[in-house]
């Protein structure tokens, strides 16, 4: 028994060492290739947005012939698997250490963004976040190495609050998934709505992944003028349908963040979504040449509709390419490359995008209304706010001095 244990141990360790060896020593750099490591969830709950974000990113490179700044660009995609941020960290280590990537990109969810931001900063590798919207990443917890091509959770919420007030709404019910992004996304419109003079009369938070929205919908105060929400993915699908089922559609207007009716689920929402108004930095129905080109190319190549995640992935690639062009491919000169990245201005499918001093996009925000055109549902832009940044009308210092939206949860009702 004891002998066997010793032998087993030895065999095991030898096997382990061999297997580890198989993982490969750091790869020698193929002459002159710029390597980009893309971390995205391709399995699990975020599989769909993760795949979109990746495909948008890859679409750009395939259109650009995998070149930028005079060098070939190679993208290595890593699936970060199900909801464990530490797996993303492991993948990032693989990309940086073994594959020698010069740039990291991707990231759907906030915990992953937070973990990778720290890692990227420690390793001195630029990271372009193509989705995770946690405000802090480009505010209090910002880093010279971390950039975003997507959005800050509250940035498109601010205009919506003002817009809601202008429509004549005065009493608002706030609803969101009960987690960080939920508070930030709704906090944005709560703040601007109340600043304009409106009142929040109720806040309702449901756990992420609520199977049955009935008990939450029943908590909506029927004297409200408007219900303003943040839901995404499966929650959005269930919520919008339940809103109609329980008779609120048509009685109390429903508005929210664009993820509520994003093309990921829009067609499945069916008529329940008609007349819902949302705010987002992109819609498939945007009528500009860049967007038309992008959407068509995406749909042709991937046989499914473009979504906001795909657009963000695409913009991340645009930014990378432009920065590479500026430094003439010399990505190894980190200072120059970082400077180039912070100064990019791209013609994105959403409109003109540039980065603010905190590396978050300044981009147009659209107010969108769901309508049926030609039998197909779409998010039609009905208003736009160009050049909107994450701080809205405040200065960065004033904005960051205010309590953050996570702390404001539950405190909007006076």
């Amino acid at each position: 028994m004891r002998q066997r244990m010793g032998w087993r141990m030895a065999t095991g360790v030898v096997a382990l060492a061999w297997l580890l060896g198989l993982l490969g020593a750091p790869m020698a750099d193929a002459q002159g290739t710029v390597k980009v490591g893309f971390v995205s969830p391709l399995t699990g709950v975020y599989a769909a947005p993760g795949a979109d974000m990746r495909d948008g990113f890859l679409l750009y490179w395939s259109q650009a012939g995998n070149k930028a700044g005079g060098r070939t660009v190679e993208v290595i995609v890593e699936d970060k698997g199900s909801n464990k941020p530490e797996d993303a960290l492991t993948k990032a280590r693989k990309l940086v250490d073994r594959d020698g990537v010069h740039i990291l990109a991707g990231v759907i969810s906030t915990p992953v963004a937070v973990a990778l931001a720290k890692y990227a900063t420690d390793q001195k590798v630029p990271l372009i976040v193509a989705n995770a919207g946690a405000d802090a990443i480009t505010q209090k917890a910002r880093s010279p190495y971390v950039f975003r091509s997507s959005f800050a959770n509250s940035d498109s919420s601010h205009p919506l609050g003002e817009w809601a007030y202008k429509q004549g709404y005065r009493k608002m019910v706030l609803m969101a998934s009960d987690y960080g992004a939920g508070y930030e996304q709704t906090g944005g419109f709560a703040r601007t709505f109340t600043e304009a003079g409106g009142k929040i009369i109720k806040e309702v938070y449901s756990p992420l992944g609520t199977a049955d929205f009935a008990p939450f919908i029943s908590q909506i105060d029927r004297s409200a003028d408007v219900v303003a929400v943040f839901y995404a993915g499966a929650d959005a699908l269930r919520f919008v349908k339940a809103y109609e089922e329980y008779g609120l559609k048509g009685k109390i207007p429903l508005i929210g963040k664009g993820f509520l009716t994003d093309d990921l689920i829009l067609q499945k929402l069916g008529d329940a979504a008609i007349d819902v108004v949302t705010a987002l930095h992109w819609s498939r129905a945007l009528d500009n040449p860049e967007n038309k080109k992008f959407s068509q190319a995406y749909e042709e190549r991937y046989k499914r509709p473009a979504t906001v995640y795909a657009e963000q992935g695409y913009v991340a690639a645009q930014m990378t390419a432009m920065a590479l062009e500026t430094v003439k491919g010399n990505v190894e000169n980190k200072e120059a490359f970082l400077a180039a990245l912070s100064k990019v201005e791209v013609d994105a499918p959403r409109g003109k995008v540039k980065l603010d001093a905190f590396h978050n996009p300044i981009h147009p925000i659209y107010i969108l209304k769901v309508e049926k055109k030609g039998g197909v549902l779409q998010n039609t832009p009905i208003a736009s706010y160009p050049n909107t940044g994450q701080f809205w009308k405040w200065t960065p210092e004033a904005y960051m001095a205010m309590p953050d939206y996570g702390a404001m949860k539950g405190k909007w009702v006076k």
């Binding site: 049955d212 329980y246 990921l264 069916g270």
Partner: protein, 284 residues
Amino acid sequence: MTFWITQLLNGVSFGMLLFLLAAGLSLIYGLMRILNLAHGSYYLLGAYVGLTVVRYTESFVYAAVAGTAVVTVLGILMERFFLRRFPKQALPQALLTFGFLFIIADLALWIWGGNPQTLPKPQVFAASIWVGNIVFPSYRLFVIAVGIIVGLGLWWLQEGTRLGAMIRAGVDDEEMARGTGVNVSLLSTAVFGLGAFLAALGGIMGGPFVGVYPGADFEILLLAFVVVIIGGLGSLKGAFFGGLLVGLLDNFGKALFPELALFTIFAPMAIILAVRPTGLFGRL
């Protein structure tokens, strides 16, 4: 008043869905002592297959038939060719069913993609019903009806038929049952198939309002576990009343104490554990 009635109906309809999900798990465990970790996967597959069939035929009924048929066959195959080899061995069964969970989950992702989906409701139940101030989706009433019918059907099966008697015998004492000529192995396969059928039916019924998406398998499995803990393993009554109880407590809990929304499912479970660890009706 409106509030209470709506919540009551909600709770009951959700409870009926939970019953469908827990009944299969409980029955399978009762007879074969197998804790099927792939139970949630049956829900997933049933719903997805139903989704595809509805796309092509526009018929909810065909979807229900197809979804349950496919999953029942899968369940029978799993039992016959895999689980049967490890009678009463919990660990290999756990690893095996876990393996299937991963396989089915990935297969589903591959075939149907990662987008969250819902099953379209049958046309006749698409609208909501208005009675005075109360609005309620008629579909949910349908779910309640189906739940009650299935419950009664299973009860009749268990108490009123020979098959049911054989199952009860097998649950109580397998060796004796075998001794009296009951073909326990055939029975096991049949019961496993039935369990799979119920889970898939749950997938079809739940499809329109809970939806189907990657990760649903795990979530459903967890819910089924909670109901079975409360109701008691191996008991049909337990699955039914456990489901009802959880559905009601969850609904009222979330509506009245939104702060504790995360715990409304687990609170009743914790109480049962403290008071009566084998569940309300569990005998095993």
